[in-house]
Every structure is written in C-alpha cells, then in structure tokens.
C-alpha cells in the first residue's frame, strides 16, 4: 500500500533503475513559470478555437497534476468566454495495464461533472510519454458514457510513445532520452510552476 508515485517514475523505471535521491541535483529547468502560463493560455485558446466555443465542453484532468492543469484551463476558458465550463477529475488507476505489476496504489478521486454523453471531452494531463495513461483514460471514459469527441491536451510531450496516441493540444514538445525524467511542478502541489528534466538513473 504505497501512495501513488508520479507516473513518470514508474514508466521510466522499466530499465531497472529507480529514481535516486541525487537526481534532484542534476535537474534543469526547461520551462519557467511565465512560459508555463503562456503555454496554458495558448492551449485554452486552441481548445476554444477547435471546439468553436465552450458549449458542450468538459475538461477532465488526470490525477495528480492533470487535475490542477484542468482547473487552470477551465478558469482561463471562463475568462475568455465569460461563461463557466464543466471540469472534473478522471482517475485511471484501475484501468492501468501495469496495475498488477506494481505495488497496490490507492486510486485518486474520479468526479465527473454531470453526464458526458454527447459532450466534447478534453483529457488534460501534464506529461505525454508512453501513451499508456491516455489509453487507460479512453477505456475509463467508455464506462462513463459516450462523448461526441475526445481530445487530449498536455503541457509537455516528451516522445517515446508505446501506443498510437497523439495530443491535440501541446504546451511544449521536449526532446528527451528514455532515462531522463520530466517533471511538471505546479504551485498547487509543488509550491511553484516549472518543468524540469533530470537524469533518472545513477549509472
């Protein structure tokens, strides 16, 4: 019974090297707070443009940091459109394809704001990596209703896809090596906004 670890840890530790305490030292910031804010603002505009407004829009954040990003995007969209947009949380723990391989993790909250049938659902996550999280999220949505369309917004696309998944709205595309660890830090959870890259292993 372990608290949910950041997803990047479990996915990048498949090479057998877990995160180390020394990895903090070698981390470098690739996106600072103002760049992060501009990226989110652009994503909010892109979502509205692609959807031709905020009608039928439902933003679903994937825990942990996707939830905070979805809330921020919802506020931004409200600021632009002047009307509230539905926002919720979609936990995908029970839909993960590596559930059995990892220690038990307690799922986070799922809260769906009303019905999602015929809505346009925008999944919001911090980092797009293997694509497995999004694959699980699409499976989870299938049990919750039938949206008219499902789109994906991520703050960082770091490549190394293992499933045919592409994001519709990307804050920043970052070239990474598989043993690097990309971490999105958000004020709500981490005290400040940034995107950092660190070496995952100690080899």
């Amino acid at each position: 019974m372990v608290d949910p670890a950041p997803r990047e840890v479990s996915t990048s530790s498949t090479d057998g090297s877990g995160p180390t305490s020394g990895s903090e030292e070698s981390s470098r910031t690739v996106v600072d707070a103002s760049e992060l804010a501009r990226s989110l603002s652009r994503i909010a505009h892109e979502i509205l443009e692609a959807n031709r407004g905020a009608s039928d829009l439902v933003l679903l954040g994937i825990p942990t940091r996707g939830v905070h990003l979805a809330r921020r995007l919802a506020r931004l969209i409200e600021g632009i459109e002047g009307s509230p947009v539905r926002v919720g949380d979609l936990d995908i723990t029970m839909y993960r394809d590596d559930l059995r391989r990892n220690p038990t993790r307690n799922p986070a909250r799922t809260s769906i704001p009303g019905r999602i049938d015929d809505a346009v659902v925008v999944l919001v996550d911090d980092v797009l990596y293997s694509g497995r999280t999004i694959g699980a999220a699409i499976d989870a949505l299938r049990d919750l209703g039938r949206p008219r369309a499902v789109r994906l917004a991520v703050l960082v696309d770091r490549g190394h896809r293992e499933l045919p998944v592409a994001a519709d709205h990307v804050g920043r595309t970052i070239q990474t090596a598989a043993d690097e660890r990309v971490q999105v830090l958000l004020t709500e959870k981490d005290g400040h906004d940034a995107v950092t890259i660190s070496r995952g292993g100690n080899r």
Binding site: M1, D91, T93, M94, Y95, L99, R100, R101, N102, P103, T104, R105, N106, P107, R109, T110, D139, R142, D143, L144, G145
Partner: protein
Amino acid sequence: MRHLLSCADLDLSTATGILDLAEEMQQVQSRPVKKLPALRGRTIVNIFFEDSTRTRTSFEIAGKWLSADTINVSAKGSSVSKGESLRDTMLTLDAMGVDCFVIRHSSSGAAAQVASWVRAQVVNAGDGQHEHPTQALLDAYAMRQHFRTVGAEGFAGKKIAIVGDLLHSRVVRSNVLLQHTLGGEVVLVAPPTLLPTGVENWGCQISDDLDPVLGEADIVMMLRVQRERMAGGFFPTEREYTARFGLTEERLAAMKPDAAICHPGPMNRGVEISSAAADAANSLVLDQVAAGVAIRMSVLYHLLGSDEGAVH
C-alpha cells in the same frame, strides 16, 4: 497485502486507505456501467460454511463489479457434507487455480488455518466467535461518514459503545482492534455473563450499566442477542435484558446530541433495539448495509489489485 484475516493485520495507513477507496467505490454504483476492470482475470471463490445472505451477496457483487470471476460454493450439498475434511476441500479448490477465498466458518481461527494451507489469498468473512474484519471496516466507514456530517474529522476522541452479547460476537473483537488502530475509544457494555474471557486485556473500558455510558457515547453499537442463547442461562429473561441493556425509546432520548446508532444486523426489534431507535434519523443501520459492497470492493482491490500479495 497477502490476506485479511484479522483487523490486527491492518495498520493505520492501510485501514485509512481501505476506507478512502470505499468512498470512491460507492460512486461506481451510480455509474452507467457498474464495472471497473481492476481484477479482470482473477477468480474469487466465496465459500460459506455458514449461511449469510448479506455478506456473501455483497462479496459476490463486489468481486463482479471489479471484473473478477466470483463463484459461490455453498458448503451444504458439497463434499464437506460427504465427510471430506476442511483441508482437503480447500486444497482441492486451491488446485483449480483460485486466486482468493472469501471464507465464512463456524470455527474460530478457520480462516487463518485455511490461509496456512492454500496458495490463494484469503479473506475472513467471519470465523466463529472470533473476527469479521470487513464488518468492522464497514462499521467504521458508516461512523466516519456520520462524524463528517456533524463536522468532525476522524476517530480521535470519539467514544464508541458496543452493547450486548459480546461473548458470542465476532464483530466486537474486530471493531475493538480496528478502533485501536483508528484512534476511537471503545466502551464495552454487557452483562458479566456475556463478556468474553480475557476481555480485561483488550484495553477497553468495561461496564455493566448502559445509562451512564449512553450520555457520553458518540456511537452506540447494539449487538444482536441471539434468541438461541436464551436457553443458555446468560440472563434471566428477555424482558429483563431489554430493561437493562436494550436501546429503548427512553434511552434513545437520553443519547448525546449528534450521537448515532449502529447495528450489524439482523436486528431483534423489541429485544436489544426498539423500533424507534432502529428507524431513528440518527440510525446508521441502512448506511452500514449500503457501505457493504463498497468496503468489500476496496478490500478485494487492496488484496488482489497488485501481484505483490500473491504467491508465484
């Protein structure tokens, strides 16, 4: 987690984790598709050597909603009644590749005994007069929800009175152990003839007078007085028992404000609990039942969700 045999197996973070996840699982009941894929491909056998509709059904539903294959084995008409030993029965089923046994047995310690024999994981769904951990968990779940509605968080400083036939109850020991972990204070109220041996070592206050306890308890949990015990000479008459230990209408009025009533069921209305108390606005009886499936989903997930509890 490998097995759930006793509430003593649960540390604070595990117990809290089970209660927290149960809250999430309760939401599944209102979904269009009442199914989560977490236990796909797992086989759970509910083997009940004693009848219990509500426990067995809620375990079966819990397993199914988590996509496990659940199979009910009733001991009646099985090879047990043909004289096969418990060990042979369990080893036979174990050899079929079962992942988890949910077992109810009339002998105390049966679940732990089975766990020592089989490769599968074991959930104790009641063993004799010993333990019933999932009942204690769902009691705690209903209590926690109640505490929240009256603006309190957690069990610290809460007084939980458990009243009635403690001697023949498996619920009481599980509740005492669980509350010890969660931080609630348990007061046991029973006639001396219905106290289990060794109860003085449980670390609980013990009383044979309900009225003073009633004024300070945040939860009053009434246990069933089993009618078949009447012949045992544990108390003179049913009426005398009710007069001293029953939650009568007068005692209901004497309860602390914001206090709630629990009963693990089935209730003997008019004996240990009056209809006025059973149906009172502060009665959690139906909340306890409603929590049954969610708690059992959470327990099964904690046991079987990851391969770490399995033997390879």
